[in-house]
Symmetry: C2
Subunit: 400 residues, 2 copies
């Protein structure tokens, strides 16, 4: 008789955003006349850059003509034109990343979930808590032991390594989802040192790097010395360029990152990942890769900058309002996320229902991201300026 | 210290097509003046349908405008417009498949590789041999026990179930890659009965269904009674509509397909897969989904039919030539693949080198697909008619 992977039964039944959607639906059915402002799910709202649209259309035309038709991509790792463009972008961020070390994907979530395949199940995984649920669930699905490093009020929601605790795989997300906090250069260096001492690998999620505004916060882990020997970086155009519906991202595994097998051989981790991807992935849609290439052109970068600045203005408005109301929070400065302490000692789901019922503003309960989120709440800057302003006006009426 | 998944070290080092590419490169470097005809890798060469190009461009435009912009797809399972279109297509094939049971993906290879995640590693896997290497490698990566059912000259390269052997997961591909053979209705019924008796699940790869020409060969396993209780079907637009560079496919897990957990609960397999995909996949590019929808329109279906007929004419030409030369083969009739017995008792890699050196025709050595392919060789019908004719002329000169 066939057996399922029973690890799936240990997962929380409902994915966070499904539960949120359900509660909104119930509320809307009962209160159809009350307009809801959504500041919950981290999805963008502004259109993609004109340069990307044009590039995608041109590529679609190419596929419709025999002479320019393209089928399978040879390597499945991404076309050279895009890997070179990503490498050039890294240069602008102050990191030296070879095109050979970059693989293009259909969005960071796929690689972030699938990367667990290449590691043995006996590794100890360390996550900062709260964290993006994919890190937890993808490791639970393979039955791994998970340790949590607390990100909390005391450390400014920026967990730091504890040299008394050993881990083999460490997930870091900076700027952080959900807390919006971002590691400084010195803090990231501590993590890189810790990884090297523990012969561990850091999986560094830099999905929100485009929102960094402070010069002391690196936009790539490869801005840190030693990181190439111990860190994988995953990034996406979802937040950088509004590609949540286009689907494109990239994963970097430096050639310098080697691991020892049980029999003592030293092998490149990138080779194992290439073997995994060669078997279970066939590359990203050609028109999507052309659109992504266009994002990294001078024209494209200027166009996406306008959108990022727009979201930043929203983030500042939220931050200023919370400051005015005396509500504690992190984020907003280097991130589209604001992580606030629920007023009146409320728990986060209680606060979710309170905001929905009282002022029809939807955010994300911190409890959905881990135990340290129990009394915290995430708002995002991705709605329109008008809606964000309206939401903040409602906040002022409710909390002053 | 971090440990890799050591199962990766048990895999063949080079993926079949990488080795082929290497040998071609070496030959071309030494013989730059000799034009090679590629009938090896199963990639299409004709452009995608005009209806698909237009739909993709229109969708790209939509993403560039605030009012029609789309971000994350809510479920990640595919937009209703496409799931409905696929369901409508199934109706034309004589199978009743609900849109609710369909998930859209970025090509069958991803799901085919990733599906192993939802099953326990203690299951016994059965593959027909020869087979598509992804079935073998994805199961080896998770350390599973694999049994092989021989497809050979005796059974017309159509392995049938043996009631003395038990399996929990069975991979079937019909029309078959690499052998081009296709199961009749009665043969598939035997497999479905076997699966039900063994409480097993069939993973049915129907990637080549559009090439079926014989009425007695079902184009979906759901044409068979009982299949909904025991079979997953995976298909792709890669061969149906030339989408190898566009990347779109679909997986069907019927709601009727339930499994028992260790604690005796009965759950829908589709729910486990949805949880897997919800964690490790974020849906297919919106413009790609619109292009796929257009393929299934009346206009699109008429346009892709022209291409499939073109490849079929190539397949017939190859089949006729081999018949004329007295070379044994299967396939061609319901498949873009022709699987031939290497003349002069040659082994398949030897024959590969022989063809490359003597007549500069590239095919795929059968040994790359399993032990029963040792003396067999795959040719594909995806090149141009002119090149296919030229290759067959060269065959005639060499083998007459």
């Amino acid at each position: 008789m066939i057996h399922i992977n029973e690890n799936f039964l240990t997962l929380e039944k409902n994915y966070l955003f499904i539960e949120i959607a359900k509660r909104i639906k119930t509320y809307m059915a009962a209160n159809p006349e009350k307009p809801i402002i959504r500041m919950g799910i981290g999805d963008v709202t502004l259109p993609i850059a004109p340069a990307a649209v044009e590039a995608m259309k041109k590529a679609a035309d190419e596929l419709g003509v025999k002479e320019t038709f393209r089928g399978y991509e040879d390597s499945g790792a991404g076309y050279d034109f895009l890997r070179n463009a990503v490498s050039g972008y890294y240069k602008k961020l102050g990191a030296d990343v070879s095109p050979d070390d970059i693989r293009i994907n259909d969005g960071a979530k796929s690689d972030c979930g699938n990367i667990v395949d290449i590691f043995g199940n006996d590794n100890t995984v360390m996550l900062t808590d709260p964290s993006y649920p994919v890190y937890v669930d993808s490791n639970r699905m393979s039955g791994r032991n998970i340790l949590f490093a607390d990100s909390n009020e005391e450390n400014g929601f920026a967990a730091m390594p504890d040299n008394n605790v050993h881990a083999d795989i460490i997930y870091l997300c900076s700027p952080n989802n959900p807390t919006g906090s971002a590691y400084t250069r010195d803090q990231l260096k501590e993590w890189v040192d810790y990884a090297q001492e523990n012969e561990a690998v850091i999986i560094f999620d830099s999905a929100y790097e485009a929102f960094i505004s402070e010069p002391d916060v690196p936009r790539s882990i490869y801005c840190i010395e030693g990181a190439k020997k111990c860190a994988i970086e995953m990034c996406s155009l979802s937040k950088t360029a509004g590609f949540t519906g286009v689907r494109c991202g990239y994963t970097v595994i430096p050639g310098e990152l080697t691991v020892k097998t049980d029999s003592g051989d030293v092998i490149k981790l990138a080779d194992i990942w290439a073997r995994r991807q060669g078997t279970k992935f066939n590359g990203v849609s050609y028109p999507v890769q052309r659109a992504a290439e266009a994002v990294f052109s001078d024209e494209g970068l200027a166009q996406i900058r306008v959108n990022i600045d727009y979201y930043r203005r929203n983030a500042m408005l939220i931050a200023d309002t919370l400051t005015e109301l005396g509500i504690d929070f992190t984020g907003g400065k280097n991130s589209p996320y604001i992580w606030l302490k629920c007023p009146h000692d409320m728990e986060s789901w209680e606060f979710f229902d309170y905001l929905l019922n009282e002022i029809q503003v939807v955010g994300t309960p911190g409890a959905g991201f881990g135990r340290n989120g129990k009394n915290w709440f995430r708002l995002t800057a991705f709605n329109s300026y008008e809606n964000t302003s309206e939401a903040m006006d409602r906040f002022k009426k409710l909390f002053i």
